[in-house]
């Protein structure tokens, strides 16, 4: 066989093999595209979760469960079924989340629920309007919140996140659980438990609480601060930020446990 012929034959075989590869890849392509779509959504949710944890938990709670008097839950049925009608939004819920996160909210739509009449309600988050987040981060956060939908509608159960181990047999242990569940952790820092920075740091609270207001013991001062936050406001913090409603939302027993727990913070 002449060299020209050999090369034509080999070249033809190679072209046929290449075509076979392209055909096989093409046959797999629709499945691959579908898989990639699912995987990219999963990665978007993961990314959104990390953005949410660093930026949003301070007001919306460690797991988007909301904090009474500060910000609403983002994983309850109301949010997924009635919120759009309430504000008169025509588009999808995901777009609504993107829109609200991007521009923030200057005035609360439900001022009666929030401290200070809901002003300021929510800061702008998009870097277009002076916030810290890029557009893709905001879309990721929206994807993460949308992933609560099956849970919010009662279709699946989400396990509660792991908290630092708590000894439920003692009032102090139960009080620590109340501290996290009632949302105190979102605003107040206690080393090893929470990192909130809206209200005062509570490390060493028990040792200074007795000296705050003359005539009140440490225990009485802490109790008053929970039930009637405006009675004494620590210097450097604004009045009206801390919810006034803990007297109603917590039982007496829970408040006793909480005070007992806070008194351990030497």
């Amino acid at each position: 066989m002449k060299r020209v012929q050999l090369e034509i034959v080999l070249g033809t075989i190679l072209v046929l093999l290449s075509a076979a590869i392209v055909i096989i890849l093409g046959a797999r392509e629709p499945q691959r595209l579908a898989d990639y779509e699912v995987q990219q959504r999963a990665e978007l949710i993961e990314f959104g979760a990390s953005v949410f944890v660093t930026n949003c938990t301070r007001c919306h709670g460690t797991q988007a469960q909301g904090i009474t008097g500060v910000a609403p839950s983002l994983r309850d049925e109301n949010f997924f079924t009635r919120r759009l009608a309430e504000v008169g939004w025509q588009g999808s819920l995901e777009d609504y989340i993107v829109s609200v996160v991007t521009t923030g909210r200057q005035i609360s739509t439900r001022p009666e629920l929030y401290a200070g009449g809901g002003i300021p309600a929510m800061p702008t988050w998009s870097e277009k309007f002076g916030g810290p987040l890029r557009d893709d981060q905001i879309r990721a956060v929206a994807a993460f919140i949308m992933n609560f939908e099956p849970y919010a509608l009662g279709q699946v159960a989400t396990l509660e996140p792991l908290l630092p181990p708590v000894d439920e047999s003692t009032p102090e242990g139960r009080g620590q659980a109340v501290f996290v569940q009632a949302g105190c952790a979102a605003c107040h820092t206690i080393s090893g438990i929470s990192t909130g920075n809206i209200g005062p740091v509570l490390d060493g609270l028990a040792s200074r609480a007795g000296d705050r207001v003359s005539g009140l013991t440490a225990e009485e001062y802490i109790r008053q601060s929970i039930l009637d936050p405006s009675a004494y406001v620590v210097e450097g913090f604004a009045d009206g930020i801390m919810p006034q409603t803990f007297g109603d939302t917590l039982t007496d027993e829970q408040i006793n446990d909480l005070v007992a727990f806070l008194l351990t913070l030497q």
Binding site: V22, I45, E46, L159, L162
Partner: protein
Amino acid sequence: MLNVLRRRLNIPPRDQWRATIAKIIDDRVRIITAGLSIRELRAVMRGDPPTEKPNPRYKVITTSFIAHLRPRYYPQAATWFTHTYRLGFFTTFLFIVEVITGVILMVYYIPFPDQAYESIKAIESNVFFGELLRDLHRLGAEGMVIFSWLHLLRTYFTGSYKGPRTFTWLTGVILLLITAWLSFTGYLLPWDQLAYWAVTVGTSITESGPVVGPALNLLMRGAPDIGTGGLLRFYLQHVILFPLLAILFISIHYYKVSREHSISLPALVEETQRTPDQKKEDNRRIDLIPDLLSHEVFLVSLGIFIMLAILFFRGFASPLETHANPQQTPLDTKAPWYFWWLQGLLKIDPAAIIENLVNPVFETFGLGFRLELSKLLNSKFIMGLIVPPALVLTLMAIPYIDRNPSRLARKRPFAIMWGVAWVFIVIALSFMGTPQFGIETPPATRIIQDLAPEEGEGALRAIPYEELQQGIYVVGEDYGPDLCPTLAYQPDPEGDVNNVVVGCPNLTAVFREFSEKLFAAEADGLLPDLNASLIVEQFQFNLARVTPHVEWTDPETGDAKTYEHTYFLHQDRPREE
């Protein structure tokens, strides 16, 4: 009557129809092939000698535009495979692959920071053959860099830059620079962390230049940091300016080879005594049609097949890291591998080296004088802006420096030694440029990074979702052979139902590796008072949060230190097989 009509309409008699039709077809074919008849075409495909005189195959080269760019023939000796290895041919082939795939990718790509990354994601998940195109483009780019370097080395070692081909060498070096710059500008376009930081590091070199440095940097980046303007500048350079320059210089380079000097003959043929028979064979004409052309078509089909096969068997995949984040410098910033030698160069501080050599001498003689070069010379400026251009100029000037007329390897030992030495120097510099060399990371950070690198998967992210059982796994506590002995799950519920995994082998392995590395660091005294755990929580119904947490006492300051990193792992995340 009929005959009159036939004459009027110029219709040939019935018995001449066949010949007439054959002539009409032949005329058309000759127009398309620029001179080859059907019979001749057949002979070409069979490798037979020309059927007509004068040789119609040469007519193709004189008349057609494309073929006119080609030589009529090469002497047989110039086509030895071991002489050229077809390296220049494959470089050009890859350039054409880049142009074709690049033009298609341009249709889907958006050169704007807000959308660039997502458009790449969309190419991968929403464009039929999108991933294949992107992989081909990336593979072709890296291949083109490799082949252009190899082509340069081949030309150097065979001494083909000598004599009349000095200018060809010069255009070749320019093409090498264009290739490197094309790859570098393309590197930024995906707008992921890898792209953003590689280009930030790369462009920062210009900043150290005197007087014009900051202005040059601004010109390249479009702003103090790479943003919308910078991306657009790189994009336009990548898709318009440098492809056009490449085409221009490839044309000049190729014209010199094909029309002016032909491919160099092997030195063996040119400079040694050959027998008359050998001489006759060496000078035998290898015609463009059919020999060279069929060979080239074969090489093209081979090239396409190899590229597709590499991608088919997953030997290569274009990386896509997380979205570019100017606020967060990755732990390991690295340039593209073909610039590692440059990064290695930047790690050398010549001023310090000279100081260390000279100052002890001054001290021994008690001169009371210290040389402080570092104050005068900025090493980044020298190693980034003086040395590389000097190297490039030297490379360009090689034909003018090397005046040895001989091309035989044994008659130019110095040139060969220099070439080999430089290959080793570049490899050594590249090795120095890799991120592992010379940068230290705190042990706790490094251990967690090893389990779950910032980019890419790592052992931690590869844990199947089913194994992420909620719990605080404390390092040092004995959990038995498996962390979750009661667990049993089907890794592939839709496929093999009988395949059941008992326990959580992957989670256990990761926990074990984490513990062992921490204990090793503790034993080395790096992490005293170690207290660590691996915390696994369920965050959403299909999303787990994994937190490796390390507490220790700083051995130098005695401060209590904590390091932890949070990873979110979704059920559907891509897990490598």
